[in-house]
Amino acid sequence: MNILEIKNLNVSFQTETGDLHALRDVSFAVPKNCIVGVVGESGCGKSTLINTILGLLAQNGRVDSGEVVFHDQNLITLSHQDMQNIRGVKISTVFQDPMGALNPVISVGKQMEHIQYRSKESREEKRQNAIAMLKQVRIPDPENALMRHPHEFSGGMKQRISIAMALMMKPDLLIADEPTTALDATLEIATIELLKELQEQIGCSILFISHHLGVIAELCEKVLVMYAGEVVERGTAKQIFHNSLHPYTQKLLECDPARLSDHNQVLPTIPGEIPDLHHPHRGCIFFDRCHVSAEICQTQPQDAAQGDHIARCHMVKPC
């Protein structure tokens, strides 16, 4: 059973220099009670994807076609009010910068109370909920923490508080956008352990976006790889990391220094840059930088499926 299904989503932005095709024919599903990872580098369209799901696209963005199905409803067709009722309750978000969610001039306790504005509980009950949540994310001395302001906490703690706030309403889906990128390695580990624990307890699904391959491998059951606005490969974590099909995924894994066993001094890279998305690309989006391309790659590839492991590449034979 899928909690979120993206079907053939196409999103573009109107700019001074023409239309920018930010997402092209994006399809994937987030099952219930599952952690799905999204891997991609700058310019892959991750932010556009999140904003589309949340109904927060900029004014010059529009959904050209496709659906975002959440609980049998196409979120794109919902009104502003309906989306507001979903955001924060059924779908909540954690960002890379915890200050993206935390108001610097209001105490943590007040903010956690405000989040519960839809609930009919009394103030004291809401306060207790907040304390319980802070305990779950292992903030020491939660009663006192409620009275402090965000700047009094360290970066790692702020991130844990924003996770607590995101999960307080027990959403069905948590979207985590690079939540650990700004944290040091030891904090990063602690944070993903925490996310794993909370996910099990609450039973929500998590859509975890990161360009840090190690974290994705540790945390996620299913993974999708995005490049320049398209999902070029999707499957289980094992499939992606042990048997990647798409040339971009393969190259990306090669570049991760953690995977290199040979300590020779020259590091692999992917030469070139992502293509300009203003002009709709003819053929495969990765063609210019691909090491195994052929004539046929000048035509748009379809999704080739090997069971539930799917890659958008001519060179991949479906079976």
Partner: protein, 284 residues
């Protein structure tokens, strides 16, 4: 240098695409043009007194009529444009230079200097413009000099504060640290790194301030504190027309119309510039 020209051309295009911007820039150009070529456009002598021709309504010979001394109003307002233009551009330039230098010093220099300058700005700003005008007129007598000094004093604190705020923000920017690490002198850092990056927002404000400057000049002249007759000033003409407004309204119109058009022109231009350079503006 070619980069500057390129940027200017790009900005001009953007301005022309907005209806208000195009209107604004047209009005401004019209005003500047008519002031510069006042002699050619209006054949009459603005100072020629002709008692026979007093209070004549607008006609072919006198496009805007004549005033209480028989002087051709059309010629007067075109020449008045020169005063307005001179005051506006000259004082703005002087305010800009002084404000920028003081702002850079306050922002980049030591704390004590910042405190002293801020105190200075706040003191000057606390005087209402009219009082300042009166005080200066007492010292220098009503004249163009008084007008200029009033305008400069009124504008400098505001400009300096803007530059100061921008400078403070940029002081800890990495490219400034990089310059320091390369051994750049303070002068170089201020001139090459701070100045170009702080002056943008100020230039936009300045273009929106020009109508204010014109209004100050007009206001002072209206009150008799500005340029002395027979020098034509829009404010003076407006004053003349004010007393005679019931029977000979065209004089007031002659004085007021150029003020309105110029103010609208610069305001539209300034607002368009601000909208263009504000990165947060979403495209419609």
């Amino acid at each position: 240098m070619s980069a500057v020209v390129y940027e200017m051309k790009k900005s001009l295009l953007k301005i022309m695409r907005e209806p208000l911007g195009a209107l604004g820039i047209s009005l401004v150009i019209l005003m500047i043009f008519s002031a510069i070529f006042a002699d050619l456009i209006a054949s009459a002598d603005p100072s020629k007194i002709s008692p026979r021709d007093r209070f004549l309504p607008p006609s072919f010979d006198h496009l805007m009529g004549t005033d209480q001394l028989g002087r051709d109003l059309f010629a007067r307002i075109l020449h008045g444009g020169r005063i307005a233009l001179a005051v506006a551009l000259f004082t703005t330039a002087v305010s800009l230079i002084i404000g920028t230098v003081l702002g850079l010093l306050a922002g980049y220099g030591p704390r004590w200097l910042d405190n002293v300058l801020l105190l200075l700005f706040d003191t000057v700003k606390s005087f209402p413009t009219v009082m300042l005008a009166l005080a200066l007129v007492t010292l220098f007598g009503p004249s163009l000099t008084s007008v200029i000094i009033v305008v400069v004093l009124v504008n400098v604190p505001g400009y300096a504060r803007i530059i100061r705020t921008q400078t403070l923000t940029l002081k800890s920017a990495e490219f400034v640290t990089a310059a320091q690490s390369m051994g750049a002198s303070t002068m170089r850092i201020l001139r090459v790194h701070m100045l170009p990056n702080t002056i943008g927002p100020l230039l936009i404000l300045v273009s929106m301030d020009i109508p204010v400057v014109i209004a100050i000049e007009a206001g002072m002249s209206f009150l008799g504190l500005g340029v002395r007759p027979p020098t034509p000033s829009w404010g003076a003409i407006l004053n003349d027309g004010f007393t005679a407004i019931r029977d000979t309204p065209w004089i007031a119109v002659a004085g007021g119309l150029p003020i309105i058009l110029t103010t609208l022109g610069f305001t539209f231009l300034g607002e368009t510039l601000r909208d263009i350079f504000d990165p947060r503006m979403k495209r419609r």
